[in-house]
Symmetry: C2
Subunit: 78 residues, 2 copies
């Protein structure tokens, strides 16, 4: 199984994107994980190392896809 | 069947995103269409009306998700 990780910070842009984008993913081939960087700050460093610059972002098998123009990772750090 | 339309303009950011994002979509529930706005300029107006501001962009059941920070629609118009 490949991995699909959806990073967000709970903002409205994120929640809408999460529901719709994740709903379209083939769960027969992709294991989905949702990470709320606003609540789980310990995952921010890993997200940054993976190349995430803003949220929401979808990581598909290691590749990063930033979705729409949400909050920057610095804004998420607070 | 729901519809997934992937809009792009042939740029490297687009082609990579197209292959990986579309590969993750569940083709049992989504009919996929790929639109190259660089070649098919007639679709630019429709894309703009749908809310597309840059490419690559994924339209899922009418909702627009801009992916990464590709070329603006004005740049695609040339």
């Amino acid at each position: 199984m490949k991995k699909a990780i959806f990073y967000h910070a709970g903002c409205p842009v994120c929640v809408n994107a999460e529901q719709q984008v994740l709903e379209a993913i083939d769960t027969q081939r992709f294991e989905i994980e949702v990470v709320h960087l606003g609540l789980d700050k310990s995952r921010i460093a890993v997200a940054e190392q993976a190349g995430i610059k803003s949220v929401p972002a979808l990581q598909l098998d290691g590749e990063i896809f930033h979705i729409n123009y949400g909050a920057s990772i610095d804004e998420v750090k607070g």
